[in-house]
Amino acid sequence: MAEIQMQTDVPTPQDGSEAANKDWYGRWSHLYKILDRRGPFADPSFTPGHGDVLDSSFIFLREILLNNCRVLVIGAGGLGCEILKNLVLSGFKNIEVIDMDIIDVSNLNRQFLFRPSDVGKPKAKVAAEFIMKRVADVKVTYYHGKIQDKDDDYYLGFQLIICGLDSVEARRWINATLVNLVGDEPERIRVLVDGGTEGFKGQARVIIPTITSCYECSLDMLGKQKTFPICTIANTPRLPEHCIEWASVIHWPKIRPDIKMDTDDPTHIQWLYEIALERAKEFNITGVTYSLTQGVVKNIIPAIASTNAIIAASCCNEAFKLITTAQPYLNNYMMYTGNEGLYTYTFEHQKKPDCPVCGNERVTMEINKEMTVEDFIEYLKERQEIQLKRPSLSHATTGEKIYWQSPPLFEQRTRPNLEKMLIEMVEQGDEITVTDTTLPFSLQIVISYT
């Protein structure tokens, strides 16, 4: 992997000894063996010493690790609970956790920070409070809401982000956000450690935005969600799943168009179950159960404590190694499977050149202030090295269309822009997103006027 050198501008510890005083004797003795001693596999730049020596360079590591390093944990579910526990036992003391969910009774078989009396409460809050109650002298703040509510500055405020999510969409969002955060400035890199599980299987990976492959690069590794042809559901059902889909996809909108289906509402599942059962009887199909109905309409993925523990621990082990440099970190993907024996496969997942998120080419162009949009498009077509034929342009931040070749509606709408000065639509330093059939995905152009 490319060796990335970044400046380490770390604030001097402010009265760092205060927190340490609260530690009882031997609290960190397991950790200190590793942190105090050089190892043959650690990076040569690793400086042992946890701070017992009153030398500023020695105090550094402990202060960073135990007090100054802010870690964001996304998700307070099966992985999140484990991650929070592992982090605080590994010396991380300043953690924030985000989760938008509330606790459900089906979480209790693995999300060990929650008790039956917590059902209905926000996961992030209960998890944060439990950890602080159990483990002395750690700060865990929480946000009960969506990751999309937070802006770039928020994410820049952490040194490391660990993600234990079950949603593809949320993962794509945080991945893209962290990649876009970097721009041309390596000091804005925030490492993402991502974990995921499904039954006895899982994976842990380290994503260094713009340097390693990103989540989007590996989207094609995801298994496809099982869907059935709608004509099968409508006319030739064969499986109990077909009957359940009929109830939810076809029958519900027809009979209850004004009620939004809520798959967390047991009365809704009950309704779907009864309809599906009736339909199954009509077609002599067996196997419709309440549990299957719930599984199909909620797309339930089996989840157990063991797999979550393995994947979360692997993520936290990588986080610990990344932050302390006490050992080399994972480059960059570990797959785990435990249904048949116990296997891991560790490999370097390759960056996808045409990845829509991190494969985006970004070039800076120096442009004459006097250029019209039309001139600019002609200029782009002339530039041999980018090979554009029919470029369509929009503003990368606002999404505003500058000039589009198609569809005709937008071509007409944006045609008047051709005569405008580019500077009227794109300010100094702004970015333009270009799409063209000749591009694998898109091209980002940063405009610098001369």
Binding site: I4, M6, Q7, T8, D9, V10, D43, S45, F46, F60, L61, I64, N68, D152, D153, L156, G157, Q159, E169, R172, W173, A176, N180, G183, E187, R188, R190, V191, L219, T227, F228, P229, I230, C231, A234, N235, I250, P253, K254, I323, T325, Y329, P356, R390, S392, S394, T397, W404, S406, P407, L409, F410, D430, T433, T435, D436, T437, F441, S442, Q444
Partner: protein, 177 residues
Amino acid sequence: MIKIWSIKKDNSAAEKKKPKVSAAQIRVQKDLTELALPDTMQMSFPDEADLLNFNLSITPDEGFYRGGVFRFTFNINNNYPHDPPKVRCSQKIYHPNIDLEGNVCLNILREDWKPVLNLNSVLVGLQYLFLEPNADDPLNKDAAEDLRTNRKNFEYNVKQSMRGKDVKGINFDNVLM
């Protein structure tokens, strides 16, 4: 010592505008700007700033459905192209592969969708449904039955339905200009 990260708070950079457009939106821009829209199709956007929700009308120039204007709504979510676009017919029409609620039976909209497909593939698929309705995998069984057993009768029913008349006691939307 610590290479990968820094806890430097970069104030100058914080003000910089960063792309807020999602990968899904850029992908839709790519799909839209590369569309080869034939004369028989038109798109309209209720909110032109919102590329993820739009309408499509198809006016077939041959086949059973010639002369009609068939309207569809497209809803694309932020998980595109991992998830397929949701497409519905917004009129009540008589068609073997479209039911009375507007559900469309087209394989690439559900079980055969993959991220390498794009909006153009969906448009081509929809166009094809009007040129070659498939009677063997029906969604509207009555219409399919008519097409299989008596094409003349089916053709007549299509014409009736397109004018907004009843077919077998069901009233259809007028889709003529």
